[in-house]
Symmetry: D2
Subunit: 347 residues, 4 copies
């Protein structure tokens, strides 16, 4: 019998993507969807692409409505997850697609977020290279999962193999990301309107202010880094979905291109959802649209003394909802890839 599922925040992009993916999942059965201002409306009126959920009505987002399910996905604005999660039974698997439970260090939290730190949950990127207990081992049986930040996931997957193998310096990393606007959620901001974004590229959160920076540093420390210093710049570009993270790091003395290639190959050998491309090939975001797949390209720029690792993901899938479901599969002891598409929707 499938596990029963509730989704809080079903009217947003992350909630919608959870629903799109779960429609094809044989062991997770969506019974309840909730929203805030849209409560009372048919789901399909708010998410007109979700045709398979025709008769479902959005309920209000309350602990009472969410209780009684095996799995509760929270796709809520920042700061809203903690209280609701606390009101749910310990035995319920709660998966937070927001940022509230990702950071382990209260100092990191305080430096980048307002409000109280709610503690950290098991981090939902199963493939992430990690010293000691693997992410998968941590996920098995857990009842609290923090889905990753989409940009953090991309940059961490790009660089962790080199960190883990001790091949790159971590004190002068540079990441520039071309990102689509859906990562910002359903938006009424003028700067995210179609008129402003069509035909334009523009940066935001320049100069070390983006909230995914401490999350990346935490991931790379778990992969073996001592100190992490990262220049991180996201660039909004006119594509609805997708992240292309171009990440570079200084290569340690004596490290060869073969060493680099080997490290990245070993890190993702056998992984279904993190695929290293052949030498000299780098990924496009189009090839990951709608899929839970991260495509990784890595090369060495001898003249610059840097490795260049480029990762493409769909921010709403591998960056959020797909990672949440993949981690849920692991936590529940289901096949890890259940219900998750490998193939992108291209062109």
């Amino acid at each position: 019998m499938p596990f029963s599922v509730a989704i809080a925040g079903a009217s947003g992009y992350a909630g919608g993507e959870l629903l799109r993916l779960l429609a094809g999942h044989p062991e997770l059965d969506v019974r309840t969807v909730t929203a805030h201002s849209n409560a009372g409306q048919p789901l399909v009126a708010v998410q007109p692409h979700l045709r398979s959920y025709g008769s479902m009505i959005l309920q209000p987002t309350t602990p009472e409505v969410l209780a009684g399910h095996d799995v509760v996905f929270l796709a809520l604005p920042h700061g809203a997850s903690g209280e609701i999660a606390a009101a749910l039974p310990e035995g319920t698997l709660v998966v937070d697609c927001g940022a509230d439970h990702r950071l382990e260090d209260p100092a990191d939290w305080a430096a980048f977020y307002p409000g109280e730190h709610h503690g950290s949950w098991t981090y939902g990127v199963p493939e992430l290279p990690r010293a000691g207990t693997s992410v998968r081992e941590q996920l098995a049986g857990t009842r609290r999962i923090a889905a990753p930040g989409c940009n953090a996931s991309a940059v961490s997957l790009a660089l962790a193999p080199g960190v883990s193998a001790g091949l790159i310096e971590t004190d002068d990393l540079v990441a520039v990301l071309a990102v689509g606007p859906s990562g910002a959620g359903k938006s009424t901001r003028v700067d995210l309107s179609a008129s402003e974004m069509l035909g334009s590229a523009h940066p935001y959160a320049v100069g070390g202010t983006h909230r995914h920076i401490p999350e990346i540093a935490q991931n790379l420390r778990h992969a073996g880094a001592d100190a992490v210093r990262l220049s991180f710049t996201p660039i909004l570009v006119p594509m609805a979905r997708g992240i292309l993270a171009t990440c570079t790091a200084r290569i340690r003395p004596g490290v060869t291109a073969v060493d680099i290639r080997d490290a990245w190959e070993r890190a993702y050998d056998g992984e279904a959802f993190v695929q290293l491309l052949p030498e000299g090939v780098f990924p496009r975001t189009a090839d990951t649209v709608g899929a839970n797949t991260a495509l990784v390209g890595v090369g060495v720029d001898e003249a610059a003394g840097r490795v260049v690792a480029i990762v493409a993901i769909d921010n709403l899938v591998k960056g959020t909802a797909g990672a949440a479901i993949q981690s849920t599969n692991v936590a529940l002891g289901l096949p890890e890839g259940l219900g998750l598409p490998l193939n992108g929707v291209a062109p």
Copy 2:
């Protein structure tokens, strides 16, 4: 045991979309993929979004390679299907995604296509309203299927309910379609380059020259029209996929808005893949991306004396590859929706 499948033309967009959809189909097992100039290469080198077919190699497109499969999908350039189909066993289910076997009347063919007419196969739009034997009945057990033209499918689904119910005049139809460039296939044409298309809308085949016109007329005649006169203008717009067909027809005297609503409701009542939207709601292409779903909106413009029926589809799915698989399901006696997504990839 699943049916064995070969796909000819697997390096193109239609072939790629067949493969993307069939990756999730439990009863159709892709054994062979073929191509022309790309034969010998790994499929994934040419179609980098198709990660689940990792080790598959493109074979040359010959009858010998294609023979021995239960189902052969042909996704070939115009004119190439006839000869290959003739060389395949009669018992093989052959599905032509090209135009060669759609038109029944040799005069229609001669007026719009060069070369010889190859005869017509069973038309692959199961939901199309039709007088007499239904399309589904025709598809059951057939071994030759002609998948529809993407634009023809959209316009026919928009207008056939009104034709079938005798509510609209068919001698002065007007259809204007916003279409993405993927309908033209992988292209080296300058006018379909990103530089030319980004930020621009431009028409083509203006003034009655588009090849889907006789196909639409044929469909509407089967729905009950006597004569069909259609002004048809496709507009290329900067979205990779999608067709939004805005179709209008003069309403017959005495016909009311309620009559119109009723006719469209009856026509698609119970259909999974052709869904009529609520009154006053009209579709977006985004909601159908990657899905086998046609969304239909219909309304009456009393002042203009015309019905406006607007259909959104993904040209590569419901317009081509999805229609092909849906029709194959019917022909093989499988559940009609097997392997076909209902939910679009939005935003």
Copy 3:
């Protein structure tokens, strides 16, 4: 000495485009710019593309601030122009880029707009074919100009030549327009956000409700039509600017393709800003971006019995700000094309 100019609503798209164009106008000198919520800010902080206005500060939009200029352009939300215009001296040339003063018939106004009818001003499309006194003659010396609605301008220019020459029926016109979102102004609407619009086409105001319909009918009546019945459907597509209006009309009995060609050639012969393309050629919006140029293609679909006239314009230039400046040039006795670019920014 140049004329002094004030622009009310300088923080919006129409106001911004007036400023962009006037930066290159030798006889119109922008002295004052006003805004509502942005008053007090530097213009360039709100309109960062307007680098030539570096030190100019946005003033509040009041009659006191606007008075004392030779020309006042109003680029205000619907309903705001009437009161301000009434408070300005009669000798001031006031150009309304909004809808308040376009419709002559109070019944038209009441059917499509809320609030009181403010009367009509001279209509700002100098090239529009018109029976009796030409638009140019009406504009000469006038002190009150109503700039056209962008969609109305496109459709009227497409069809008026045929109406004027008596070649087409006006009781069953059909226009479908691919339009960019900038026509809706700076927007905080979710449906106009980049996430929703990228990769999608969607209709709005379906079924005869768009406010430009009575404006088009008025224009075509002035061109000689008795009754006008028009099916009008705008489709939002992912390009920041541009309108591609595909307009069709039944051809009157006995009218030939040569008659049609002749009528459109005569209508726009010698016009700089409305150019008829060669036979068989139809326009792209890209070729008009940033330019005050309307490109017109016309053809006959013999099988359908309809003429197809397609017009491309930049909605913010020929559709709004360019038309306003061109009409101002005429009203002030300046060369009509002064300060107005003919060449589009393509690709």
Copy 4:
């Protein structure tokens, strides 16, 4: 009397942009346009946005056709300029928009280009900080100008102020650029087709192979750098025009954020076409479309120890044709900004 101008390669994007800009230039009069395969056709048939050149016919690209003009702009494929330039009189001002005459060091040339090195001409970025003789002084009176590479121009303008002031290390620079496809010229490449690029971001020339790298290094050496090591990655994104160059460099010990701000302010103080944005503000490409303006934002990331300098330009204007005309103005002793727009076409 204006100078007479010929443009070789008028059918391409760079040639088209020269023509668009020169249409508004009072002292440069285009008399002759040439092309290769399009010779004999009307210019407007190939460049339908250039409505002001209605009657002009494309001539073949030969020294005979080009001779006899005061100024000849060469917008030709790589390798074609040298021979033609050699055949033109020494007194003719020849401006090469291609790469043939940019690199001074034959070793640089040999490392990145095939074929013979043709020597170097005066480099056409007047504002570029430079030790010793300024670029403007070099341009004055010259008869041979090498217009810059578009990406090289953006990155050099971003970083040169810090190099010139000795504030940043030049041995570990990182630049990632979001670029539109028009930089690649009119293209028949599948990977630059609209279907492939819409909704996607993808890198090219990863790992130190891009030809603009030695050009940037040369510029930074002229600004005072000893050795230059640069990691350079261009990312194609779905906008027709535009470059957003995100450039970072390690800050030298003891350098403060105030030092950085001062250096960039001093470098571009009084420049019309290179404008430093206020502290905390970074540029968008949309604001530079169609304009000869480079917008520069600079900030310090204390945690990362790097300066982040971001430059937005229109690759076809400030990156190519606008730079060519601006440099021509200097060479001919005309006002430097003549005929060059400051304001972008936004939204």
